[in-house]
Amino acid sequence: MGLYKLIVKSMVFSTRSRRRFFTFVLVFSILSGATIVMLSFFDSFSREGMLDHRGVVVKVRDPFSLTDRVSLEDAQTDLDITDGERLPGSEAVIFYKYVNFGPDLRIFSVNPQYQWGFSEIKPDNLIAGHYPSSDREVLVSEEVLLALSDTQDGLSIYTKPVVGTTLKLGVSEDATFDLRISGIFRKPDPSTVKSDDLEWIILTEDAFSIVVDGDHLDYRTFEIYIYSISVIASGDIFSGAAYDNVDALASQLNSLDSTDYNEPIYTRKENKDDSRNMTFLSLLFGIFGTFMVSTLYSYLITRFRRREVAVLKAMGYGKWDVRIVVLAEILVVSISGFLIGLLAIQLYVWNPASRDSAYFYLIAFSPTAFWSFIAVVLSCVPGFFIITFRTLSVRPIEIFKDR
């Protein structure tokens, strides 16, 4: 009971030396913020930048030209791999389906769990809103023109899509499927990625099935129906395991079909090594900085609070009582700094003005935040020892020395 009370009081008191407290909380928040940002580069799949390090896309050329309603599941059985299967070295195998609907429009399905599993719709290309997460949401490409047609006068008014408006899919008035536009999407630059002139709309798999299998669109008129498979390599970028897996998967999948349709999309390892090393250096800087500051800070507070420690010892505070009083300060300061750094980054990520894509990332509960927190706590270890030994050396009789 005495211990609990002492810890709580010490934590409260350590926030009261305001200038020192706020200065170091700020320093810690900057450093742990840097650590979080750097660590998040290693947080593989959750960062869009990692996408082309890790994906292997295999397109199977026109295996199904459907002449009648064949269920999607039937179609899949013609392939060696199935949706959700785990190949050795892979994190997941994901099937995407698309249908070319008429001369202008291509409709994609996307697995909400792997929103950017193929390169054409990577988050870099999102310019507003977010990926569809329910079967009532749709992502549309910038070029999609919503036509307001007045057939009587033969006039058409075209309008650019806006997030939040309703898109009606259907061949007739009484068979439409209403979808809310959840995001706008920039078609990839055809000079870097194989692309086409069609307008794209991207639905969740469920919505795709409803639209294509249901009565909403009469696909029989157009009937081009192609599968695309993404295989996500597993392993972490930092140790290099992901590169090996990407290579292995690419050769494994080569046998599926002709080389034309097998495009491992990843930047050559050599090119990535540079950026990886830079990131690693910055990460070391962040962790080393936190480590240095917490060590320096521990040293400083044992100096600033030396007289207080002497008084407490004279009053009968034991060795550990005194240590707790001082340790509470470094813990409160470093953890507050960490939380503020984390909050600042989260707000930055959330703020649409600072986002370069509509890609949404909740960092606060991510493994990155967890590991950064561990790094911050570990960086306090030398400080802990400094405090332990330096408070020991304080002799209470110092207070009686004439000043």
Partner: protein, 224 residues
């Protein structure tokens, strides 16, 4: 039950200054501090007053001699036992008050009790009652920097008393106060002897003798 709470027998303390020079800060001192009395030790600066207080309270070890408390020589005790002894039986009052700047007046008074197994409510009650007794009820939430010297020393006294000590050691408690404040601090201290607390005051100020039940004069580490 003996009338003597703490007793120094043939107490000596040597310091080595520089390389060779030995300073006899205390030289064969005998001193008895009776229960519920205020004892005064006077002497000029450098006469050994602070050293006496350190050794008697177990903060420092004597070179020779004994400090007897309840038939035991505390000079033989381990560090941990001495902390516990000070926590339960000793209060300190310092010349520079030594209040903790990040704690309010009330919290400074409570501070010695935080590590102890005493309920927060009980601690708060004791501190408030002492705050009233030292006449600073209206300064409960003030920080030391917002208090005058006399007020800070009153808080220091309340802090020394909160653990219900059997003895209070005061080193120049009025050293930085004007005459009026000094007199009222001494009267306040004296009033606590009525509650079975012994008080040892060391000071260079001869005028304080009139508040004490007994007084001794120290010169070059010896009583004269």
């Amino acid at each position: 039950m003996s009338d003597i709470l703490i007793e120094a027998r043939n107490l000596s303390k040597e310091y080595i200054r520089g390389k060779q020079e030995v300073v006899m800060a205390l030289n064969a001192i005998d001193l008895q501090i009776p229960r519920a009395k205020m004892v005064l030790v006077t002497g000029p600066s450098g006469s050994g007053k602070s050293t006496l207080l350190n050794v008697l309270s177990g903060l420092d070890m004597p070179t020779e001699g004994k400090v007897i408390y309840e038939d035991e020589n505390i000079a033989d005790w381990e560090e941990e036992r001495l902390s516990k002894f000070r926590q339960e039986n000793v209060g300190f009052i310092f010349q520079n008050w030594e209040l903790i700047r990040t704690q309010t007046a009330l919290e400074n008074i409570e501070c010695p009790l935080y590590p102890r197994k005493i309920k927060s409510k009980e601690i708060r009650m004791r501190a408030i009652s002492l705050l009233k007794q030292v006449g600073l009820w209206d300064k409960v939430d003030n920080y030391p920097d917002e208090l005058s010297g006399g007020e800070q020393q009153r808080i220091g006294i309340a802090r020394a008393l909160v653990g219900k000590p059997r003895i209070i050691f005061a080193d120049e408690p009025t050293g930085n106060l004007d005459t009026d404040n000094a007199a009222s601090i001494m009267r306040l201290l004296k009033s606590f002897t009525k509650r079975d607390t012994s008080i040892l005051v060391v000071t260079h100020n001869e005028d304080l003798k009139r508040y004490a039940d007994a007084s001794h004069q120290l010169s070059n580490g010896r009583f004269v």
